[in-house]
């Protein structure tokens, strides 16, 4: 291990190390963040949910949106996989269907950033995904 030589050094180190702890810090206060759940059951994975999830994690981070992305089990919308549920603080959760990378990009840009609605909303017929 190299020595930390000054306070500035230490602060720089902290900045670098922080990203590794980001996920833990965020889960301390999830209600204040955008929460996205990606359906990751058999049909979801088959239709590309994994790629969508990775895209969401990376892009929200890049665009500076504090987000927690988690996976859930089957949401019951096999016909519209991949499906994701987006909960913006202070709003009701919304479920989007047939989310590919392009759609995911729209959801981040339009719905999450600007609060505009995006096609593909599935009427909610469930209570909670937990």
């Amino acid at each position: 291990m190299a020595k930390v030589k000054s306070l500035a050094d230490l602060r720089r180190m902290k900045e670098e190390l922080q990203s590794k702890m980001d996920l833990r810090e965020k889960s301390n206060d999830p209600e204040s963040l955008v929460q996205i759940k990606v359906a990751m059951a058999t049909c979801g994975i088959a239709s590309g949910a994994k790629e969508v999830m990775e895209f969401l994690i990376e892009e929200t981070a890049k665009r500076g949106i504090k987000t927690i992305v988690t996976q859930t089990g089957c949401m019951g919308y096999c016909y519209a996989e991949p499906t994701i549920e987006v909960k913006v603080p202070g709003k009701e959760p919304i479920v989007f269907g047939d989310v590919d990378i392009k759609k995911a990009d729209q959801i981040v840009e339009k719905y999450i950033k600007n609060g505009e609605l995006v096609d593909g909303i599935i009427p909610v017929n469930y209570k909670t995904l937990d």
């Binding site: 930390v4 306070l7 230490l10 996920l23 990751m40 937990d130």
Partner: protein, 597 residues
């Protein structure tokens, strides 16, 4: 670089390790490897979550799922179900004892809701054996700030302003103590961390050292900077092997980064820490005894003054602080005295860590703001009394604290309030008792401890406590008199007034507080020879109810001393003068005819 999508925190505190958390960690790692998820899921061994009762604890992030009583065999299912399929493993979730509701997020558990974690901020959150995780959470930033941007006096002023008072029991203002040590000039000074933690049942300090050792090292260095000491010593009992290991790892890592050693962060300030081991004597937690023990002398207290700040270890100015006191320091420096002194009550700022034990649903380690009431702690955080029994008393302050009752439940907890009602804060032990606990036996139990632990230097403590214990023992045998109660009170006062150190000055507290709060119970022991709680065996009598007895003879055939008489099909009778109270008859009777009175 790996970009983990999920973190699995496995509790690596002493409690959970004893129930196989290491095997859980290994099995999780294997299951993750088998699925090829090494780059996506990180497994982290943390310090204690405080909820040891339901350990081993496994927490999965970012969705904050809190799994309890996890076994090594569960690892595969957790990975397969939760990590891969995103389905919670219901059978491992916590069930609220009151309303039987399943709670998956620890933030919704009554146990955590009222807690504010300052001293325990990193326990159950970071890997204590990885200095990088500590640094990522502002670790050593406070030390850096002190060295680069503050003078020793401004640091002391900040601590004074914060209102922080010692968490080792005395509640002495920490900033003031530092100032005394700073003012005494000497060629060598020392910073000592008191990690003796001798109270039976207490594990606050151990958990901090196991879960966040760097916070104590950082604070010791800050203290060294303020007083001009370049040497720190941690006095820890040898019975704390895991805490010792974690401290050693932390010291090594801090030295490698140059956060301990010479010219820390290029400031020219030198500070290093060494360990000293105690053999586990309660009195060695007293600061002068602790210093003598470190010097290789007998662990006996000496008269103050001189205070350690003038003449401590090797006769040099020494500042002694408790583990928890130190753990608060970096946060105060980082967030400011004004952030800290808004938490807590009028006369006591910040939080206090307590070890909840006894007849309470949620046994464990908690941290609450000063001024929280006993009722909130016992009922909201502690989840109430076990098995729906009735609350009787709560003992605070360790072996020499007092027993408080129903009428004290709304007392806001702080140093002064607890003393005002005849108990004390001590280091933070809190033992809850229910209707089945006998207060005389309880006082006797604590006296047994102090008699054992008295160093014997002063007569009132050495002999007086022994006499107290004898009298209490006599009362539990039903041989006490009313005069004995007065004797107990007088003797207690003498011991308190004439003992040299805090041990003798407080050891009669359990006697006095039970006399004050449960006088009736003493009276029924000495006058009616009854123990309502059914704890004093000598006062119990096995009695057969002639109404219920059908004369089956089963009891008399099982009595080892043949003291049950009676004809077949007629009510039986126990000769209580011969009965040895073994309980065999009661166990055998199928008609519930035998009871204890």
């Amino acid at each position: 670089m790996e970009k983990y999508k999920m973190h699995i925190l496995v509790c690596g505190g002493t409690g959970c390790r004893a129930s196989a958390s290491e095997a859980i960690q290994n099995n999780l790692q294997d299951a993750i490897a088998a699925k090829g998820l090494e780059d996506e899921v990180q497994v982290v061994m943390t310090g204690c979550f405080g909820f040891c009762e339901k350990g081993p604890i496994v927490k999965i992030l970012p969705d904050n799922t809190f799994y309890v009583e996890v076994k090594p065999e569960d690892a595969e299912e957790l990975i397969e179900e939760h990590i891969i399929k995103g389905r919670k493993v219901m059978r491992l979730l916590y069930v609220d004892p009151e309303n039987k509701e399943v709670i998956s997020d620890s933030k919704h558990m009554g146990f955590y809701k009222k807690q504010i974690r300052i001293a325990l901020r990193n326990c159950g959150f970071i890997n204590p054996e990885n200095v990088d995780e500590y640094i990522a959470r502002d670790g050593y930033a406070a030390l850096g700030k002190c060295l680069a941007e503050m003078t020793p006096q401004t640091v002391i002023d900040e601590i004074k302003e914060s209102g922080l008072r010692g968490r080792g029991g005395g509640g002495f203002p920490t900033g003031l103590k530092w100032e005394f040590a700073a003012k005494n000039e000497a060629d060598q000074k020392y910073v000592v961390c008191n990690a003796d933690e001798g109270d039976p049942g207490a594990f606050m300090d151990r958990s901090i050292l196991e879960g966040d050792p760097h916070s104590v090292l950082e604070a010791m260095a800050i203290c060294g900077y303020t007083m001009g000491a370049d040497k720190g010593l941690i006095y820890i009992r040898a019975e704390y092997p895991l805490a010792i290991t974690r401290l050693k790892v932390a010291i090594k890592q801090a030295r490698e980064y140059g956060l301990l050693g010479n010219d820390i962060l290029g400031s020219g300030f030198n500070f290093d820490v060494e360990m000293r081991y105690g053999a586990g004597a309660f009195v060695c937690g007293e600061e002068t005894a602790l210093i003598h023990s470190m010097e290789g002398l007998r662990g006996e207290p000496t008269v103050k003054p001189p205070f350690p700040a003038e003449s401590g270890y090797n006769g040099k100015p020494t500042n002694v602080n408790n583990v928890e006191t130190f753990a608060n320091i970096p946060v105060i420096i980082n967030k400011g005295a004004n952030w800290f002194n808004k938490i807590g009550s009028e006369k006591a700022k910040g939080t206090k860590v307590f070890a909840l034990a006894g007849k309470i649903n949620n046994v464990g380690l908690i941290e609450v703001p000063m001024g929280t009431t006993l009722r909130e702690v016992i009922y909201e955080i502690g989840g109430g009394i076990k098995d729906g029994k009735k609350f009787k008393a709560v003992q605070t302050g360790g072996p020499s604290g007092g027993c408080l009752t129903e009428k004290h439940l709304d007392t806001p907890i702080d140093f002064d309030n607890l003393i005002a009602v005849g108990s004390m804060m001590g280091s933070g032990g809190m033992i809850v008792m229910d209707e089945d606990d006998c207060m005389v036996s309880m006082a006797k139990f604590y006296l047994e401890f102090t008699v054992e632990e008295s160093c014997g230097k002063c007569t009132p403590c050495r002999i007086g406590n022994k006499r107290l214990h004898e009298i209490l023992h006599k009362i539990t045998l039903g041989e006490g008199t009313k005069e004995d109660l007065d004797l107990l009170r007088n003797l207690s006062t003498v011991i308190k007034d004439t003992s040299l150190c805090g041990l003798g000055q407080t050891s009669p507290n359990p006697v006095l507080s039970t006399l004050d709060n449960f006088y009736d119970e003493y009276i029924s022991h000495v006058e009616d020879h009854k123990c309502a709680a059914g704890q004093c065996k000598a006062l119990m009598q096995y009695v057969i109810d002639p109404e219920l007895c059908v004369g089956c003879t089963l009891c008399s055939r099982n009595c080892p001393v043949d003291c049950i008489s009676g004809e077949r099909k007629e009510a039986h009778l126990i000769d209580t003068s011969k009965c040895i109270k073994c309980g065999a008859c009661m166990e055998k009777c199928k008609f519930n005819a035998i009871s204890i009175q």
